[in-house]
Symmetry: C2
Subunit: 162 residues, 2 copies
DNA sequence: AACTTCATACAGTTTAAACTGTACGGAAAT
DNA sequence: ATTTCCGTACAGTTTAAACTGTATGAAGTT
């Protein structure tokens, strides 16, 4: 039986957690680098710089730079200042669940809002057309689609409060 | 000013609704063909066959065949039988909001369940290792990750009831 | 001021998703 | 039984996302 020291075994576990947990985070519309990077920071007991990240994940520094910016934008990680340190340091924010939900819900709500505007614009165009059976049919459908968006908005707003 | 007859104007509106509404539906993890096809069926006053679909969307019949199968699987459209008709006919299901939410929530819950199992498996492996500070640290993180999944499960289950 | 060292912009490459066209098997029509 | 017509499997192509390597400019160091 092959001998494995504790450190190696823990490294394997570490890698497995990154691989598995990141799959869930990808469902929040994060790409693989973003998801894996978040889990890496989440599992780290101290802030990390871009070079450390790229070594852990075996990806390019550019990928790490892009991923940190997105995660910052989503408010999932934060930059940490350390005296005498030239490299940027980042750590995962606390309270996983709320941070992810908030970011996710916000992106949904933004998109829903945008799409409702677009549908309202289309509906407005319809009003300038003569009334016909076809016109009324489409108008009804657009109305229903807008109501669909309103329902979505409602359900995501409810999540937000919790 | 260019003359446009009613039919042309309505066709334009029709195309715009497909283009815009489908963007929202893509957020339910549908690909462009699936989303556009759903909206097409949604806007149609009668069931359509694959050839009609491909003409409306300007895509291949294979794309339509694949898209209908996915939409059927997600329970968003249904097949319609018509006497003497050899081609398969499909129509959009009623009650957009509930159908989409249900399908979406189900896919989230399935994935969460799968991921919780994976994390539990990893945690079990950890138990066979000697206790060290590092081990305890990772174990705590895995626990937190599992709790994160449990919270997700809860929030999506709540949506489901409504 | 010259030299390092960092993050990131940018162009190019790789990889994966989306889509197309052809071919095939099965069902219906002749 | 043969022919026609349908949906879809499959292989190949196109398109878009993800990622890499190099270049650049800004900030810190000597």
């Amino acid at each position: 039986m092959t001998y494995k020291n504790k450190a190696t075994q823990l490294d394997e576990i570490h890698a497995e957690v990154i691989s598995e947990f990141s799959k869930t985070l990808e469902m929040f519309s994060l790409n693989p680098s973003e998801s894996q990077l978040f889990v890496t920071l989440y599992l780290s007991d101290r802030p990390m710089n871009l070079d450390e990240m790229k070594d852990v994940l075996g990806k390019s520094k550019t990928a790490m730079s892009n991923a940190t910016r997105t995660l910052l934008d989503y408010n999932l990680i934060e930059r940490v200042w350390k005296k005498g340190e030239r490299k940027d340091l980042y750590k995962a924010k606390k309270d996983l669940y709320h941070k992810f939900m908030k970011s996710y819900v916000r992106r949904w709500l933004d998109a829903i809002d945008q799409q409702m505007n677009n549908l309202n614009t289309i509906e407005y165009k319809l009003k300038n057309l003569d009334n016909t059976e076809d016109r009324d049919f489409i108008e009804g459908k657009i109305h229903e689609a807008i109501a669909f968006h309103a329902s979505l908005e409602k359900v995501f707003e409810q999540i937000n409060i919790k």
